[in-house]
Amino acid sequence: MRTTLHPALIVIASIIFIILIAPLFIILGAAVSDTNYLTFPPQGFTMRWFTNIFEISAFRTTAITSLQIAFFGTFLALLIGIPAAYALNRFRIRLPSWLSNVFVLPILVPEIVLGFSLMKSVTINLGLPVFATLMLGHALLVLPYAVRVVGASLASFDFSIEEAAISLGCPPLKTFLTVVLPNISAGVIAAFILAFITSINDVSISLFLTGPGISTLPIQILAHMEQFFDPTIASVSVLLMLLTVGVMAIVEATLGLTFLTK
């Protein structure tokens, strides 16, 4: 049997698809444009904006900061998120149902508000160093992903496996580390990747938390655009996109992308 699609549906679907994919091509085009300003369609072809990235040291240092923040922030989020997801699933019947929603709040609160309140509380009141503040902010930002994705993995975990291990003489913590964790590792990896990408691409929170001498790559891109408005920004964006696509390709090849959406 063949299902016939309504012509209007095909048109709408095509438009949405174009809207989704077009910015990628515009950025790609703008990045190779042989002009001193951002423009599309590109005029001429050059790779000099890509080499330009590496000549501006601020891009390099902020990229390193971004990677460090993403790594440690995600690590911290997982450190809190995995036990939280475990508790939320293991004791689901005994815990109030609103509790799991608390861990999604950072997604619901506008990031600007989150960034501002973090600056107010952590930077000003506690006086923590910029790097630590950024790390905490990003950990908070990506915590919902950690809890949700690891939680999805735990939701299909059969807890009688854990009880079996305990009955065989394995203490509870060791059981968690040697029996539960290996069986939710796919979820942990997926959570790490999602959280890492979210952190790398974040602007709003970083905007408030970056300070003298320390900035992240997206903030540097923003600053560069305000100052120069040249195709370097587009070429950095292309590299960021390639990084994301690369990571996604690895996820797809190893776990399958459906993993991130289930």
Binding site: I161, E163, A164, I166, G169, C170
Partner: protein, 352 residues
Amino acid sequence: MTVSLTLDHITAHYGSTQVLEDLSLAIKAGELVSLLGSSGCGKTTTLRLVAGFLEPTSGTIRLGERDLTRLAAHTRDIGLVFQNYALFPHLSVRDNVAFGLKQRGLGAAERTARANAMLERVGLSSFADRMPAALSGGQKQRVALARALVIEPPLLMFDEPLSNLDAKLRVDMRVEIRRLQRANGTTSLYVTHDQEEAFSISDRVAIMNAGKIMQLDRPEVLYQRPANAFVARFVGFENLIAMSVTAREGEMVTAVTQSGATLQLSQTVFGAIPDRFVLAARPEGLAVAREGEGIPVTLGIRTYLGRAYQYQCATAEGNYLGNGPLTDLMEPGAAAVLIPVPEQCCILPSDA
């Protein structure tokens, strides 16, 4: 190393709901006792209390001389077999079986040797290097059994271990469980909702209802001499006829039903009969006849059972089920009598 398991006046709650009420149970060394009942009767709760996954509100649990009541679950040394196998998905069959030995600090060589020997006993030697996902349900449960047995626990517990298997395999597996349990002489607690399974595998069966043990005895006794109406109904005594004694003459007792039918019952057959009692009978224990001394009824729906016809029999006090002979076909609407077959009936204390 066979020991007894004793549960003494156990009360347990989930939140504010009481799930076990003053439950006492003693399993002798080497004995296999089943907890039988429908879901929510407290049988699984009892098992989880003994395993240490739940704590009783009050009471004590003793394994031999050892008081388990407040011990951490991983120190209790109990072999557990779960309904859904609960094999470690990330470990091979051999490593699954060797897991408990590893926790006990045995060296790799000894672990492997003992796991292999155990797999041999459950007939899965050739599957040692497979992952659990590559096994059938029956094979998985054999691995689970091997994993529980290899640590040589003083107590084995089974939580509906055969419920996920198909009918044929279930029968094979319960014979296998019984064989291994007998061979090791391991004291065992077996939880099931399947009466045939419980009766076929157990030394004794405890029939549970609403957090209490209604009767604990050998399957034969439960089947033939239930102690109360709940157990009677559970083991298939579908007819419970409330009666009261009107006259006694030597061993013979005259009793009437609520709707006034008179029966003569012999105390030589039934034992002492109290003034008010319930006559319990399976359909085959109430013979349907055209006439005779019995309870007058009007016949209803007739069904063919192969060995007999079964009739729904209406009386003023309610409907009963009785069996009639194949040689005499009676029609719905006809008047008949139900005559109790003494050897297949029993006398229960009145509920009221």
